[in-house]
């Protein structure tokens, strides 16, 4: 009885501490990624003389490229273990989910392996994104008019 109580208290304390640590790590790593995104945006604006919209597209492609390459080389998972959600919530997580599912099912062939499984995890993002965007777009169109 006493042991169980002790263990529960110990467990609570332990997970509490690592939760705070995880949250701080996620905040810092996500923040650094956001900072880097803004820097890259300005860099592309100045170097290629692009508008901010075009430069942002190029910036997102860069991030997707880096995340896919890191996943393909096999060290993205280690980075996620270290930096937590800071790498999963930005667009890098989207690219990572597609590349990793493509590589996991590679041995089952081009059609049944890569073709059918590439959207396994990214599919839910696209599905719910499109459904919610359609739903909210209808609301906006009928209530507020188009922007």
């Amino acid at each position: 009885m006493k042991n169980i109580k002790y263990e529960r208290i110990a467990n609570n304390h332990k997970s509490e501490e690592s939760r705070v640590k995880n949250a701080v790590i996620a905040f810092l790593s996500g923040g650094v990624l956001g900072f880097f995104a803004e820097w890259l945006l300005n860099f592309y604006c100045n170097i290629f003389d692009l508008s901010r919209t075009d430069a942002s597209t190029l910036m997102i492609v860069t991030f997707i490229f880096l995340a896919s390459l890191a996943t393909a080389l096999g060290f993205f998972d280690k980075l996620v273990n270290r930096f937590k959600c800071g790498l999963l919530i930005p667009i890098t997580g989207f690219a990572h989910s597609m590349t990793s599912s493509a590589m996991d099912y590679k041995k089952e062939g081009l059609i049944y392996g890569i073709g059918m499984n590439i959207f396994k995890l990214a599919g839910c993002v696209i599905l719910y994104g499109v459904v919610s965007a359609w739903f909210f777009g209808m609301i906006r169109y009928f209530i507020g008019g188009a922007s």
């Binding site: 650094v32 995104a37 937590k84 959600c85 800071g86 999963l88 989207f94 590349t99 919610s132 922007s147």
Partner: protein, 116 residues
């Protein structure tokens, strides 16, 4: 100032995600889907546009920006096409991201050998 805002906003989004992940049974798949829906919701009345104006690049990187781009393209198309524009313009802005993700992941999956 934009750099500092980018840092704060992107970090804040990741912080919320990490808190949800640690304190509930939701998986990263649930959280990314949830955040896309939140992004689309925030753009319904142009709140996310305001955030992007204030924050800059940091607001374009989190997955919430994906939902924002979907609905933003759809609404922009309704100006010229009316109701059917919601269907036509849905992928206008996100096409680059999705195409890049498909191309890179396919090419890398072909080239590299999976570890473990």
């Amino acid at each position: 100032m934009l750099y500092f805002n980018s840092f704060l906003f992107c970090g804040f989004i990741c912080l919320i995600a990490q808190l949800i992940l640690d304190n509930s049974k939701l998986t990263p798949g649930h959280i990314t889907s949830l955040f896309v829906v939140i992004g689309a919701f925030l753009d319904t009345f142009s709140i996310y546009d305001f955030i992007i104006k204030k924050v800059g690049g940091g607001a374009l990187v989190p997955i919430t920006s994906f939902g924002h781009s979907l609905i933003h393209g759809a609404l922009a198309k309704t100006n010229s096409m009316g109701f059917i524009g919601i269907f036509m313009g849905m992928f206008d802005l996100t096409a680059t991201g999705i195409t890049a993700a498909i191309i890179f992941s396919f090419v890398f999956a072909l080239i590299f050998k999976p570890r473990n």
